[in-house]
Subunit: 264 residues, 2 copies
């Protein structure tokens, strides 16, 4: 509705028909960890995180809640598993997706693929994504959204292989992480509440002016702009800007120290 029809965002189409749906229709009746985890993902996508309950998840799988505990230590660990499952799809290239991260050409291509891979995940599972950002990490000193150690390793190795010093690679990791995290989280949370303000005219007219915008003129005036969705383009532009910065850092590395944090 709010999204325009000329929306050709490539990170959106990629998964909608893709990964889980087809494989999930054939139902060998047995439980296992994988099935539970993906059922949880689907449940969260459909009903939100708050609605996810051991009992309800069991029900969706046609089983009592306690059955899940044979495969999952508890709810908290289940959520960790959900995050891992979702992130891990970055590396699974079942469907011949051209965004597969491993076969890249150069670190910039790698970072672009990685960014779009994460964005694809975020858009495919908007309600799961915030979990990625808030769960405690496997290793305490590396952080979201590049949660899995495998991913951080892949990141650092690619950059250092391309000539980045360890320091520069780590700095790049942090700059890149926070960019990706910020942008995707902002984008994803906007999705969940994409109703503009043309919907609250409902309700009893007593408390009508619950959100009275007359006190916020600029906000009122720019509302159509604010509710517009230019996410894809903004994402691309910010990403390119970041890559430019990193390229600069890499090339200036052989020169002397210029005081920048990037190449500490």
């Amino acid at each position: 509705m709010t999204r325009s029809d000329d929306d050709l965002d490539p990170d959106l189409v990629a998964v909608n028909e893709g990964t889980a749906a087809a494989a999930e229709l054939t139902r060998p009746p047995g439980l296992d960890r994988e099935r539970i985890l993906w059922a949880a993902v689907e449940f969260i996508d459909r009903h939100g995180l708050a609605a996810l309950t051991m009992r309800r998840l069991g029900a969706q799988l046609g089983v009592e809640a306690m059955a899940l505990y044979r495969y999952v230590p508890g709810r908290e660990d289940l959520l960790d598993g959900v995050v891992d499952s979702v992130v891990e799809t970055l590396f699974d290239n079942d469907d011949g997706d051209d965004l597969y991260i491993e076969d890249h050409s150069g670190w910039q291509d790698y970072l672009v693929r990685l960014a779009h891979g994460m964005r694809r995940i975020a858009l495919a599972h908007p309600s799961v994504f915030p979990l990625i950002t808030s769960r405690p990490p496997a290793a305490p000193w590396v952080r979201p959204p590049l949660r899995s150690l495998r991913m951080v390793e892949s990141f650092l190795a690619t950059l250092t292989d391309s000539g980045f010093s360890d320091q520069a690679a780590v700095a790049a990791y942090r700059a890149y992480s926070s960019f990706l995290l910020g942008h995707l989280l902002l984008e994803v949370t906007q999705i969940g509440a994409q109703v503009s303000l043309l919907d609250l005219p409902e309700g009893d007219p007593d408390v009508q002016e619950a959100t009275d915008l007359s006190k916020y003129p600029s906000l009122l005036r720019t509302e159509p702009l604010l509710s517009q969705d230019k996410s894809a383009a903004e994402f691309e532009e910010s990403l390119e800007n970041l890559l430019d910065r990193l390229t600069g850092v890499l090339h200036e590395a052989k020169n002397s120290d210029d005081g920048s944090v990037m190449d500490l």
Copy 2:
């Protein structure tokens, strides 16, 4: 401990002795919404969000859980109130803080003050901050971390008053938001788990290699770098870079359209 002693991060010292502590020692026994909200903030700071319970919060206030419901509609709304309380401190200038946002000189100064204000909040309440990013917003189309309408209004008004077009101001709002959100969230979640990996040598030696790093050489090699805290400097650098971009956008605005999203 892990933080070095030469840490003079200005956003850290600012609040530690500041706002809430002194006023909270004198205890007029009555309850009210404000007191409850700040008790919740303190509780979350101390024990984490998961531990916050109506019963426990009541106990901390020397009162039964149900007493809270006279001032707060429910737990969910309490959390909204917590977020608002914390964000609203950006505007309260009780303690003569020089970071007060309203009296700025120029939009760049404003953005710098705002950024440091938010960072101060994030560092003062690391466990509360993720809430800011995940709570549904007052108006659905504006989003964290600039949650309050007052804040968005202030942001937009300042920029447009400084010569930004509505479109540029909105684009700036989004770029700025996602930058701030990403950086602070990353920084804040690193705080909560700042134990490096020199602590898991504990535990029964059976499952010792729970996090076996031998498979992740780059990660192992750069661990001391990764666990280092250069957040303040990185923050400053990224912020300046963003401001430079925005300045460019502002000045090129009078020229023709160059295809950038920024000044669409």
